[in-house]
């Protein structure tokens, strides 16, 4: 026997569930427990009372004629929550599955105050098409004039049928013997297939179609107020489209604007507004939306991103740099970098302003983009970046200078060889190596000749020699052999490290003439030297010289 107290408990549990489902995601144990609890309560109820019907008054919920809930608080009342949208009765039927209970609770937990929805609770329940939950609603509040039906019907019926007219019709009909023409048009399987195909191919995103219509509407617009209105519609459509991960609509729109202006389709006043739409795509608002979409994992093809980037103008650059620093998703950052690598070309100085950004990773990415663009006029902006407090930025700037520069940046790079960080110095050595001028070789050789060179780590030394090995000339070989033969009484270990690096390099270069010197050292007590010498000998014997 179910009593009102059970119904009271169920209502309280529903109120709790309404809150819990708002707070917790569906994989959270509290969420799962809440759904389980309500499911158990409802099915338990239905074991004794089938169906379970709750009736709603403005501030009360009734079960079996008893008030089981009363709350006049506008914000909190569960009774009012249902009542205000016209729900008067809610019935749960036996056999209700857990899924349907969960769907119902999800509808219940919608925060109509916060979420700007065009749906009320009845619409949400209607869309769920519940099988075990029925509800009765009062639709009277939907219309302003409750007497409309009565008035309209009596008005329409007002002129009652004219007997004479009917009989005249009959007389006319009988008088002629013409048979009625019948056109039965049976539906075929092909018709069905064709319709199914049309439904399936109907794109869910209609923004591009609306943009097409808006372009047509410009032909019918009269006066600046209407032009402005239409351009605002276009902007909000583009905003809506990009918010849903549709970049094609923006690409189409800008292209169409440009071709329309070029072909003189509209008068010059309209063109002003169309240019405004074009600019909107370069705005912070649009670019930020693009960033959000990218960060949410939406991926665009490289071709589409390129098409889009080509259409942007320099005004987009600062906004793109801004989002580059905000994005959390690595593929989103990559996409933004790709866009900036295209649009950045339109104003290198503007792009280079990103080097002043307080976020080291933004600066590094901007340098990377400048590297990608590869224009020499970026070099002047990079020279300061080699002194950036963050070593990752310095390395990127050095790499960029190495790739983009020529002899004119060597003096900057030379300074970087004294960077306090070894990895930066190694990057510098490589960058110097990329600029294959006599001066770059000299810088490396001079550095090796420095007394302090011996103190460097084996890796750094090896890097020097490896880079140097690209110059396969006698000077370099002589230097290497000389180092290989150099003996030391103090700091022998460090000296052997340098010799090992030289041996490694001779091996890389495949210098046959150095064989004797190498063989002499293959029995060295220093393991590092011994191993590198043996590797070099083998390499030379095998004829595996580099390049």
């Amino acid at each position: 026997m179910v009593v009102s107290s059970d119904a009271k408990e169920l209502i309280q549990a529903l109120i709790k569930a309404k809150k819990n489902l708002r707070i917790y995601p569906e994989n959270n144990p509290v969420y799962v427990k809440t759904v389980d609890d309500i499911y158990a309560r409802i099915t338990g109820f239905l074991d004794y009372t089938d169906p379970l019907t709750l009736k709603f008054k403005q501030y009360e919920i009734l079960f079996d004629g008893d008030v089981v809930y009363h709350n006049e608080e506008k914000e909190e009342s569960l009774a009012l929550f249902f009542f205000k949208d016209g729900v008067r009765e809610l019935t749960f039927k036996k056999g209700i599955p857990r899924d349907e209970v969960e769907e119902f609770l999800r509808v219940l937990s919608v925060d109509f105050e916060r979420e700007a929805l065009d749906d009320d609770i009845v619409t949400l329940m209607w869309e769920k098409d519940f099988h075990y939950i029925q509800y009765v609603v009062d639709d009277a509040f939907l219309i302003d004039d409750e007497t409309y039906e009565e008035t309209a019907v009596s008005q329409i019926k007002g002129s009652s049928a004219d007997t004479e007219g009917i009989l005249k019709a009959y007389e006319d009909a009988i008088g002629t013997e013409r048979a009625a023409k019948i056109n039965v048009v049976p539906l075929t399987n092909d018709d069905l297939r064709s319709i199914i195909q049309e439904i399936e191919n109907d794109p869910p995103d209609k923004t591009l179609n609306l943009i097409q219509v808006l372009f047509e509407m410009f032909f019918y617009a009269e006066g600046k107020a209407e032009y402005d209105e239409l351009s605002q519609f276009m902007k909000s459509t583009l905003e809506y489209a990009i918010g849903r991960g549709n970049l094609e609509t923006a690409v189409y729109t800008i292209r169409k604007i440009r071709s329309s202006i070029k072909e003189g389709l509209y008068d010059s006043n309209i063109n002003i507004y169309l240019r405004g739409v074009e600019q909107f795509v370069n705005s912070a608002r649009f670019i930020n939306l693009l960033g959000e979409v990218l960060d949410n994992g939406v991926e665009f093809t490289n071709d589409l991103l390129y098409e889009f980037a080509v259409l942007l103008d320099k005004n987009a650059i600062p906004h793109l740099i801004y989002i580059l620093g905000e994005l959390k998703n690595i593929s989103a950052r990559r996409a933004t970098i790709n866009i900036l690598s295209v649009v950045g070309k339109k104003d290198i100085s503007l792009l280079a302003r990103g080097l002043n950004d307080g976020r080291w990773y933004v600066v590094r990415n901007v340098i990377y983009i400048l590297r990608q663009i590869g224009e020499r006029n970026a070099i002047e902006h990079l020279t300061t970046a080699v002194r950036h407090p963050d070593k990752r930025v310095r390395k990127e700037a050095i790499r960029a200078l190495g790739e983009m520069g020529s002899g004119d940046v060597l003096h900057i790079l030379k300074g970087c060889l004294s960077d306090p960080d070894e990895s930066v110095r190694i990057t510098t050595v490589r960058a110097v190596g990329l600029i294959r001028t006599p001066l770059s070789k000299k810088i490396l050789v001079d550095e090796i000749a420095e007394k302090s060179f011996r103190e460097k780590s084996f890796n750094e030394k090896k890097e020097f020699f490896e880079v140097l090995s690209r110059w396969k000339d006698g000077d370099v070989i002589d230097l290497l052999v000389k180092i290989l033969r150099r003996r030391a009484f103090f700091k022998r270990m460090k000296n052997d490290e340098t010799r090992a690096a030289a041996a490694y390099c001779l091996g890389l270069m495949g210098v046959v003439n150095a064989m004797d010197h190498l063989i002499r050292l293959q029995g060295s007590n220093n393991r590092l030297l011994r191993e590198n010498v043996r590797a070099a000998i083998k390499r030379i014997k095998d004829g595996k010289s580099r390049g």
């Binding site: 098409d129 009917i166 047509e216 019918y220």
Partner: protein
């Protein structure tokens, strides 16, 4: 408004479809043919678990719809031909229900198939089936019950209320928009949901409402009529409930731009000047603008604006507004265009006082397929409203005259007709007859021989249909 359903529907439609496949295949091939065998096996595989689970498995034909264990089966578009076949064949045999009391074997189904096929050669097919199936325990049949008329008054009341609520709401919206007030989309959705529910339950009654035209409130009635007819087409082509609501809502707003037409033009009783036509032809432009102003872009407002702009543009891109570049019409625009043209042609408007009779309007529309309206959607439309749509004045071969009262989606040329003049030429307040009824010699009792224009004779449809 009450909404419910039972979960057997999901499997029910598949079982019912396979049942139709068995009968159709069996009609073409011998029972031992591999195609029949395979169809029977497939049927048994899906039907037997349901029979076991439910104990009794009833297939009932009530009105136009099948019910499985008292739950109406909503069938998807791909099944529609099979379901139509099943309805037709059940009716031909006066068969109302097939009841499976126990899991079936191959021989049981074969026995049923044989009985079903042979029964059509009997003068009393149902009785022949009933007798023959006595030897097949586990399968029973029941005779087709005519849809009870007692409840029809109530059903009519509910449908009428739903329809006039929608008209009243539309009028309210238009007035609010004119006054620059906010309108509630939530309420609009609720009104359309109610229409969708009504249409799914009482399609013919709601379509019948669209035949009643109100000259004074034409614009509001027209919006609702186009919405109802669009939903009905949508249902025929298999759109789901949510899509039907969207379509209904979008169709309801298709003529919202007419609000901008000055009343002196809209209500002008004489022919329009060229300039006045130019103003009228701007309403699609105004419609799209109004919708986009009313609501920022979202799924519904975007499509509503498209439809408002495109509903007078033809398939070949002629019509108005004149396009400067080719444009593919939205699918919903094509649906709304069919509904719009039909309702406009059959309505008495200020600028076109004499409406076309429904069957004549269909003929005109038929001529417009290919260049103006979508031919396949038009076919669906005709199959829905019938060759003689509701409100058509017809002379029968019995020398009775009547108004088409309800269409029969399965027999497009055999609607239900309200007799208003008897065979003696006397005006009567009519009974409704079904033109699919046959006499003992299996010949139709009544057939249409001629249609007439009810407007020409000033016959007020509302008096009969409301």
């Amino acid at each position: 408004m009450e909404k419910a359903g039972v979960n057997t529907e999901v499997d029910g439609k598949t079982i019912l479809n396979q049942f139709a496949v068995v009968l159709r295949t069996g009609n073409f091939y011998d029972a031992d043919n591999v195609a029949v065998k395979s169809a029977v096996e497939k049927f048994l595989n899906i039907a037997n678990p349901a029979i076991e689970a439910e104990g009794v498995f009833r297939i009932d034909l009530i009105g136009e719809y099948f019910y499985i264990n008292d739950t109406r089966v909503r069938y998807p578009l791909e099944y529609i031909l099979n379901f139509d076949y099943l309805v037709r064949e059940f009716r031909r045999r006066d068969l109302g229900s097939v009841i499976f009391d126990a899991p079936l074997g191959v021989d049981d189904v074969k026995a049923f198939l044989k009985t079903f096929i042979n029964s059509i050669y009997s003068n009393t097919p149902f009785e022949a089936m009933e007798a023959s199936l006595e030897e097949t325990p586990g399968i029973r049949v029941e005779k087709l019950k005519r849809v009870r008329e007692e409840g029809s008054l109530d059903r009519r009341k509910i449908v009428k209320k739903s329809y006039f609520n929608a008209v009243s709401f539309t009028k309210g919206i238009m007035n609010k928009l004119r006054a620059g007030e906010k309108v509630s989309l939530k309420k609009a959705k609720r009104v359309v949901e109610s229409m969708v529910d009504t249409l799914l339950a009482e399609e013919q009654l709601l379509i019948g409402m669209t035949a009643i035209k109100d000259y004074d409130e034409y614009t509001y009635h027209h919006c609702v009529n186009v919405s109802v007819l669009s939903i009905a087409i949508g249902q025929k082509i298999g759109l789901n409930r949510r899509a039907l609501t969207e379509l209904g809502l979008i169709a309801l707003f298709h003529d919202i731009g007419k609000m901008e037409i000055p009343k002196e033009i809209l209500n002008k009783p004489t022919a329009f000047t060229e300039e006045e036509w130019r103003v009228i032809m701007r309403h699609p432009y105004w419609g799209a603008r109004t919708i986009l102003k009313l609501k920022g872009p979202d799924k519904i407002s975007i499509r509503s604006a498209l439809v408002a702009f495109q509903h007078h543009i033809n398939r070949d891109n002629t019509g108005y507004p004149k396009l400067h570049e080719p444009m593919a019409l939205d699918f919903y625009s094509k649906i709304v265009s069919v509904a719009d043209q039909y309702d406009a042609m059959t309505s008495s408007r200020v600028y076109s006082r004499v409406p076309l009779p429904p069957d004549r309007a269909l003929s005109v529309m038929m001529e417009r397929t290919e260049s103006q309206i979508d031919p396949i959607l038009f076919k669906f439309f005709v199959n829905m409203v019938g060759v003689y749509p509701i409100g058509t004045l017809v002379l029968l071969d019995t020398r009775e005259m009547g108004l088409v009262y309800e269409c029969n989606p399965l027999f497009a040329d055999r609607p239900r007709v309200m007799i208003i003049v008897d065979k003696g030429g006397k005006k009567i307040k009519g009974s409704v007859v079904d033109l699919t009824e046959k006499d003992s010699t299996n010949r139709y009792t009544r057939s249409i021989v001629k249609t007439l224009d009810p407007n020409k004779y000033r016959i007020n449809l509302a008096e009969y249909l409301l």
